[in-house]
Symmetry: C2
Subunit: 253 residues, 2 copies
């Protein structure tokens, strides 16, 4: 929950006692207009473009005919979609399980070695600049509630934050689906034309435009500068296709 | 730096003043024996297995001959290696730039709106259970040094930790390289045999063994239970290959 502390309009009841009202602060940061799902779809499409385009370009440089390029392209899109979607889904599930296991272990350590774990809180707060009575008082306050204590150790000792259940799983599915849409863009020309050369040229143009556009959107969606993001997506696509072209050319000799 | 506080054998000089010696604690967790590079190579190989295997299996189900399967497989390995290695390299660079930009923004906010940012520290510590004099004293201590203050806000408000420069870039390169090694395993039988069927069978056996083994190692390297990790890697590989097989079969009709 980043920016949690910066939303004083909805204070939790437990925050109120003893806290002064918020002084004026900076305007909230402007974020990407789209929802989480829009963001996932943009990332999925951007990621789906490169490998199918490069595979098709590599095969177009050899003796392969357009129908075979389309077959290989669709097979690699299907495989990539499953690897990305299902892999992401399972990764999200294991991340949640991993956090829960580490939290249980930390709670057990607090139960088994309270002096040692209290000393670790002391060390962390000491590094934050607390001294003397304030140091011991703050340590006592954090260690008074086992939940707060474990939460503090998770953030500061293990640097882990709780993964949001469900969200990552839906993300993985949306990205996997969007990967298919991204992968179909470079393949379309090979479905429309019978000649390899015009299909390759149109595919390169379409993919370059899509890589630039979706690289730009992906960078915006992830809060990065869009110009370099677009250039990088295009650069990776061109490099991947060039290498695939050379490798396929050498391999088919 | 997880577990930083749990390594009292090498205390930083600044920790010492006012801190008691560490009480006895739990034995340090056993970690994967290999170095960071071994870990990256294991992950790269594990990730490289699925898509080339599925592509080859999909094409083997159609009219494609083994030399063409090898050409397509090598092209997709080359493209995937560039996408993974170069993409990971650029992602690591942008992550470092993103952290630096957010940190600059936070430092600027502390400079422009000190009362508001001090109030945010107050809110965060209040949520950790601190009250009254301890609350204001701890807030004063954290806000006494701008570096400590910014660091505290980065961890607790934005939940961001500083990415280690260089490490992520070397990781991406190692993973990209290992991806090639992983991708070559399912392709080897198509290079050795002239018939499609024996190559497909041997490729499936080799890849199943490798997916299980490297899925197991990957789970261990990332601190997850190895048994389910191996089963998941195998499951994703089988599902990807099955879908690629069906899609290629339908497309080539």
């Amino acid at each position: 929950m980043p920016h949690d502390a910066a939303t004083p309009d909805k204070p939790r009841p437990s925050w109120r006692d003893g806290l002064p009202p918020p002084p004026p602060g900076p305007a909230p940061e402007s974020h990407f207009a789209g929802s989480q799902t829009v963001r996932d779809i943009v990332i999925g499409v951007a990621d789906g473009l490169t490998v199918p385009f490069a595979l098709a370009a590599g095969l177009a440089g050899t003796v392969a005919s357009n129908p075979l390029i389309v077959t290989a392209g669709l097979a690699v899109i299907a495989a990539g979609c499953v690897a990305k979607g299902m892999g992401g889904l399972l990764a999200a599930r294991t991340e949640i399980a991993h956090y829960a296991a580490e939290r249980r272990r930390e709670a057990q350590e607090i139960h088994d070695w309270p002096d040692r774990e209290r000393w670790e809180v002391l060390v962390i707060l000491h590094r934050q600049g607390l001294r003397d009575d304030i140091l011991t008082g703050a340590t006592d306050a954090i260690c008074a509630d086992p939940d707060t204590w474990v939460d503090f150790m998770m953030r500061f000792e293990l640097e882990m934050t709780e993964p949001e259940s469900g969200l990552a799983q839906r993300s993985a599915m949306a990205m996997g689906g969007a990967y298919v849409a991204g992968g179909l863009i470079p393949l379309l020309p090979y479905m429309l034309f019978s000649g390899t050369r015009p299909a390759l040229i149109l595919s390169a143009v379409l993919t370059a435009v899509a890589l630039t556009g979706f690289g730009w959107l992906k960078a915006r969606a992830t809060g990065l500068p869009p110009g370099p993001g677009a250039a990088q997506a295009l650069g990776v696509g061109v490099a991947a296709a060039a290498l695939a072209f050379v490798v396929a050319g050498v391999a088919s000799r």
